[in-house]
């Protein structure tokens, strides 16, 4: 269907054009005063009062341990599901063999 495709492409081009324009406008709207203000509020860490300084080590350790915990928990959950399935398969095999033996035995 050529017409809908042409329409779709035209609409997408129009949309993309406005998107580009919007990005430009947004960039320009960051006024000079706002940028300078942000820079004047900057205080280097050495000049911060002691209460504002956060110790980095607990955060790093927390992040690191979290990664290991998540990966190990996921591994454990796969292992648990796998053993459950294998148990079910074994039970199933047993039930089937019992059924087969039943009428004959």
């Amino acid at each position: 269907m050529p017409l809908p495709i042409v329409l779709a492409i035209a609409l997408m081009l129009a949309g993309a054009g406005t998107l580009l324009r919007g990005s430009v406008i947004a960039g320009e709207s960051l006024s000079q005063e706002e940028v300078v203000e942000g820079q004047e509020e900057f205080v280097p860490i050495s000049e911060l009062p002691p209460e504002d300084r956060l110790p980095a080590a607990p955060l790093l350790i927390a992040a690191y341990s979290f990664v290991w915990v998540v990966l190990l928990v996921y591994l454990w959950s796969i292992w648990r599901r796998l053993t459950k399935l294998e148990k079910e398969l074994a039970d199933f095999a047993r039930t089937v063999s019992l059924k087969r033996a039943g009428p004959d035995g």
Binding site: F66, V70, L71, L82
Partner: protein, 225 residues
């Protein structure tokens, strides 16, 4: 997937994971952020892996929808689960780093918001798979596809406001000691991801095997009394 490749993956994962803390500790301090910057070595790789997983899920979902491939469906489910897992790692390590580096736990800038939205979409994928009943494979494939298509829009929308997230060009500009540590960790994450992906796919195959056994036995029961 042959056992030899699985064994190789396992060996690679162990090697890389054991080496990772050493590499991270050995890497030089970053000048402005100090110790806490070392979170970067596993924060960025975990997001990279999440996006890789999202991509794999999206491509597999296309095969699910258009080719009705069961194999693609298993891959899509495994990839979606892992996307949520690695996304969770990224979402927790990020704020832990941000608290020290920017002073706030969270910022509504483009990168974080689109990552959060993508993560939420894949949680929706998993919920749909779990509670959507039969036929939810294709539904969730559509969710994955639409989710992927969404990312540029979320990114653009939020980007129109100011963003404090470091620009993408950080990685190439890494100093010599940091570069090795970063790629070592990225490699570690990749091997772990592939390992988990293979395991999860195998789990899904076993589950489907059991299901089909139940179904055929029911049929036999019906036919032969």
């Amino acid at each position: 997937m042959s056992n030899r490749i699985f064994g190789l993956l396992l060996a690679a994962s162990i090697l890389l994971c054991v080496g990772a803390p050493l590499m991270i500790a050995w890497a030089p301090y970053e000048s402005t952020m100090g110790l806490v910057q070392k979170i970067f070595y596993f924060h960025v790789p975990s997001w990279m892996i999440m996006f890789l997983s999202v991509f794999i899920c999206g491509v597999a979902s296309m095969f699910v929808i258009f080719r009705r491939s069961y194999r693609a469906d298993r891959i899509a489910l495994a990839a979606a689960e892992l996307a949520v897992v690695f996304g969770l790692i990224g979402l927790v390590t990020g704020p832990l780093w941000a608290r020290k580096a920017w002073g706030v736990w969270w910022q509504w800038d483009a990168r974080l918001t689109s990552a959060l939205v993508l993560w939420t979409i894949f949680i929706a994928y998993l919920l749909l798979r779990r509670y959507g009943g039969p036929g939810s494979e294709r539904l969730s494939a559509a969710v994955a596809l639409f989710g992927m298509a969404n990312v540029p829009f979320v990114y653009w929308s939020v980007n129109v406001w100011r963003t404090v997230h470091p620009k993408t060009t950080v990685v190439p500009s890494l100093g010599p000691g940091m570069r090795e540590a970063f790629w070592w960790c990225a490699g570690a994450f990749l091997c772990v991801y592939l390992l988990f992906l293979v395991l999860r796919i195998r789990l899904e195959e076993k589950r489907l095997e059991l299901e089909s056994l139940y179904l055929t036995s029911e049929d036999q029961y019906k036919n032969y009394g």
